[in-house]
Amino acid sequence: MAVSEVVSQRAFARTPPRSATTRLLEDERWLAVVLLLPTVILLGLFIAYPFVDGVLLSVTDARVGVPGSFVGLQNFESLWHDTIFRTAVWNTFVYTAVATVFKLALGLWLALLLNRHFKGKAFARAFILLPFIIPTVLSTFAWKWMFDPTFSVINWTLFQLGLIHTRINWLGDPNLALISVIIVNVWRGVPFYAISLLAGLQTINPELQEAAAIDGARPWQRFWHVTWPLLLPVTMVVVLFSVVPTFADFQLVYVLTGGGPANATQLFATYAYQIGVGTGLLGEGAAVSLAMFPFLLIVVIVQLLYIRRVEVH
């Protein structure tokens, strides 16, 4: 009674009516659409459209200046019989596998070192990022000089140390050429691994190491039983983010060897470029790049499934 009297004596304050737009945006479904729109447009323009265009191109016999007509799977069929393509596939797998193993091992080692306390740690961290920051083309040119048979600083050092007596032709020898490009890829990729894994390591509670030390685990056991299992989800993401661009690598090989000598360093991307742009057979070139797609798709699916499993458990 008393309450109603008090209330009834005063008029309620009315908030101003809200506009139609505001009401629409208050609805979360509409808000979601509005927020997603810029991303969808960007992805559509720069990812989906080129991809679809590439797929369409790969089933035509288009050449530079010639629109081409539909030829079905003929381009893929000729790839199947193309020995250079087979070499490129093999090279790409070797290149990706070997480079990834070394990048992971070295990156993890650096991350574990950087996770300790020492003088000049901040400097070391910044320094390690250098290969990651320098534009690939620029740093690869520096490597090209280091691999040059005559001016190679590597050869000079090995020679002075008495380890070699003749010049090593790093990029001219078919076996060494693939190793050389892998070395540069590892050099460029390690910082990404090191910094990402370091971030992962820092999320692991240091008390766990102490608890394990008291529990009687030796340093190696602490790494194997505590650090590594807890770092694994991060490691999988890092590997995923690294395998895909490594598999599709182009700049580095293009600058160092152009795919040579005699296709010894030919990868998917360089071969696609050579056929599509170099030779002008756009349709076939598109087919080469598209051939990467199933492999990458499998890699991505396997790793995403794995990450989900780890995160759930």
Partner: protein, 363 residues
């Protein structure tokens, strides 16, 4: 089982002298609590005993061995961490078994010890769970279990209850006490909570600024604090302090301050004789104050004005103004007191504490 001996222990981090000349003997089967405000060096001391922190100087002995250079794993200790430090990717069983696996115990022995510890702690039904699926209290039990299975010479506890809510903390405190009574393993327990220290410790070590202030049984610390810091730290609500001057008038010793004029009984006067004419700090615990005039002659009371009345149920806390300072009195719940009321607070003169004002040491 073993005793732990700490001799002239020092720790210096860069420029900070975190632990200064600590000497302690923790007897076999004893439960010793290190207590003090944050940054007092209690955790650092514990970590040096554990081997997680290097020793700048001094010695730590476990049993009869100097363990300064021994890695944690060889010290035969088990530690319970504040944040539990459970391995998140392992089940409760594996968490508890880890220390035994690392020490290559037989599978059957591991199983038996884990089940036994789980039984003591009442977590048998949680063994297959991951730490993530446990509540704070359950995680704490697992962390305890991980220490129990090891049957170590010494348990080290680093604020193990401070992440639990108040009710659970009281419950776990009682359980810890029971477990210690049952196992009798030597234990060093670090906490900033003086209630935990008083209830758990056979003896309590109060630390401040890296220095041991007093070592003693809980009631000794309460009844006879060695200095003003210990007096203020032990007991809740904290002891009241007032700076008073000492004067002798007509053969009787008086403690004088703004609003206070106390005639001290001969026994106390004798003790304070050397401080006459100087300023000393008087301390009186809130629970030693009561409402009503003192028994006249000795003048064991002073006037006070009530500022706040806090009714806690079991007792009433009166925040009062005495002269220019404030004090707290913990009085019977039946006392009727109103804000702004003027009353007299009485006490027994034997319950007074006196501290040298400069050094803070008890007189």
């Amino acid at each position: 089982m073993a005793r732990v001996l700490i001799r002239n222990l020092n720790k210096i981090f860069n420029e900070v002298h975190a632990v200064k000349d600590v000497n302690l003997e923790i007897r076999d089967r004893e439960f010793v609590v290190l207590v003090g405000p944050s940054g007092c060096g209690k955790t650092t001391t514990l970590r040096m005993v554990a081997g997680l922190e290097t020793i700048t100087s001094g010695e730590v002995l476990i049993g009869d061995t100097i363990v300064n250079e021994l890695p944690p794993m060889d010290r035969d200790i088990a530690m319970v961490f504040q944040n539990y430090a459970l391995y998140p990717h392992m089940s409760v069983y594996d968490n508890m078994a880890f220390g035994l696996k690392m020490r290559r115990f037989a599978r059957a022995e591991i199983e038996q010890r884990v089940r036994e510890a789980a039984g003591i702690l009442g977590i048998e039904n949680l063994l297959q769970r991951k730490p993530r699926q446990l509540s704070g209290g359950q995680r704490q039990r697992v962390a305890l279990g991980r220490a129990l299975v090891r049957h170590p010479q010494v348990f080290l506890f680093d604020e193990p209850l401070s992440n639990l809510d108040a009710k659970l903390r009281v419950q776990m405190r009682v359980e810890l006490k029971k477990i210690h009574d049952r196992l009798g393993t030597t234990a060093i327990y670090v906490t900033h909570d003086q209630v935990e220290a008083m209830t758990l410790g056979d003896r309590v070590v109060v630390m401040k600024d890296g220095i041991v202030q007093q070592v003693g049984e809980p009631l000794d610390l309460y009844n006879a604090p060695a200095n003003r810091f210990v007096a203020g730290f032990i007991g809740s609500p904290a002891m009241n302090f007032a700076d008073v001057g000492l004067a002798v008038q007509e053969g009787a010793m008086l403690a004088l301050a703004d609003g206070i004029r106390l005639k001290l009984p001969p026994a106390i006067a004798e003790r304070l004789r050397s401080h006459v004419g100087r300023q000393v700090t008087l301390g009186i615990r809130p629970e030693d104050l009561r409402v009503g005039p003192g028994n006249g002659a000795d003048g064991c009371d002073f006037p006070a004005i009530v500022e706040v009345v806090e009714r806690l149920g079991a007792q009433i806390l009166l925040d009062v103004k005495v002269g220019s300072g404030t004090m707290v009195a913990a009085v019977e719940p039946s006392v009727k007191a109103n804000v702004r009321e003027q009353l007299r607070l009485a006490f027994d003169a034997e319950r007074l504490h006196f501290f040298d004002r400069a050094s803070g040491n008890a007189i």
